[in-house]
């Protein structure tokens, strides 16, 4: 597991977002279902650190799990699933990406996507470069999931 907290909320690298500073945490895990629990734990921990409510934390934990599971289905065996958490005041953006076998975005007609969309405020997917597939979700503090 590669945990790289990037404290770019201080010094010259500080980004201003919505009037506040922004922290970025990057987590890379093997693209295997057994590591989803690590991602869920990290998500809950970061959301709690960002003062999200218990409801928001639970929503985020499920949403990141759903997004990751959607990507794992077509991930290249032995590759890494990368997760980028961007924490701003009152907002968390999570980007999950893998190198996939087919380079196709996840289907939006699935049960998992429905759950993901219901729990995260904004959800989208993108492809490239190459076979890279990415799901990005954004959760604002106090969003009503569902």
């Amino acid at each position: 597991m590669d945990l790289m907290p990037s404290a770019d909320g201080t010094g010259d690298s500080g980004d201003v977002h919505s009037g506040g500073l922004r922290d970025v945490v990057q987590l890379a895990i093997p693209a295997a279902g057994a590591y989803l629990v690590v991602l869920r734990t990290a998500t809950a921990s970061l959301a709690a650190r960002a003062d999200f409510t218990l409801d928001d934390i639970e929503d985020l934990r499920i949403a990141v799990d759903e997004a990751s599971a959607l990507l794992l289905v077509s991930a290249i065996p032995g590759s890494a699933l990368e997760c980028l958490f961007t924490l701003s005041p009152g907002l968390m953006r999570v980007t999950v990406s893998v190198d996939s076998l087919d380079g196709e975005p996840p289907s939006k007609d699935t049960f998992a996507w429905t759950v993901l969309s219901a729990l995260a405020g904004e959800v989208g997917s993108s492809t490239g470069p190459g076979q890279r597939v990415t799901i990005e979700l954004t959760k604002r503090r106090g969003d009503f999931g569902g």
Binding site: A32, G33, A34, L36, V37, R40, T53, L54, D55, E58, R61, I62, D65, E66, S68, A69, L72, F111, A112, T114, V115, A118, L119, G145, G146
Partner: protein, 125 residues
């Protein structure tokens, strides 16, 4: 995370399935197999007890929903028992509260705010 599944026979055509751990993308097989075994054995009433389940996602819910439909189609039942707040929340989000049988009912959507209010009421605040 490894999911353990215990099965208890409670009657001639009734069993209780106890998953222990997180039910997610990586751990579906033991639960799916237990439900399939029950189906093959002609069990008419299956209870899935969530006392020891810490996490449930849409993949786990889909397995349960599939088993529920199979039970219904053969005149049997699948009942969910001891759902934690997280699982009940998932049922609300997916609008499955009126589809799946939940022992004691699924209740209102659990929220942290409601839990805090209940706690304050208990303390007499």
């Amino acid at each position: 995370m490894i999911l353990r599944v215990r099965v208890e026979v409670t009657g001639p055509h009734a069993i209780v399935i106890w998953p222990e751990g997180d039910v997610d993308y990586s751990s579906l097989d033991p639960l799916r197999e237990a439900l399939m075994d029950a189906r093959m054995a002609g069990v008419s009433e299956i209870v899935v007890d969530f006392t020891d389940v810490g996490f449930l996602d849409s993949q786990g819910l889909a397995v349960i929903l599939y088993a529920h439909r199979r039970q219904r189609s053969s005149g049997g039942r699948l009942i969910l028992r001891n759902l934690n707040d997280m699982a009940r929340r998932l049922l609300h989000v997916t609008n499955l509260t009126t589809v799946l049988d939940v022992e004691g009912g699924v209740g209102e959507r659990p929220t942290a705010a409601a839990a805090a209010a209940a706690s304050r009421a208990t303390r007499g605040e």
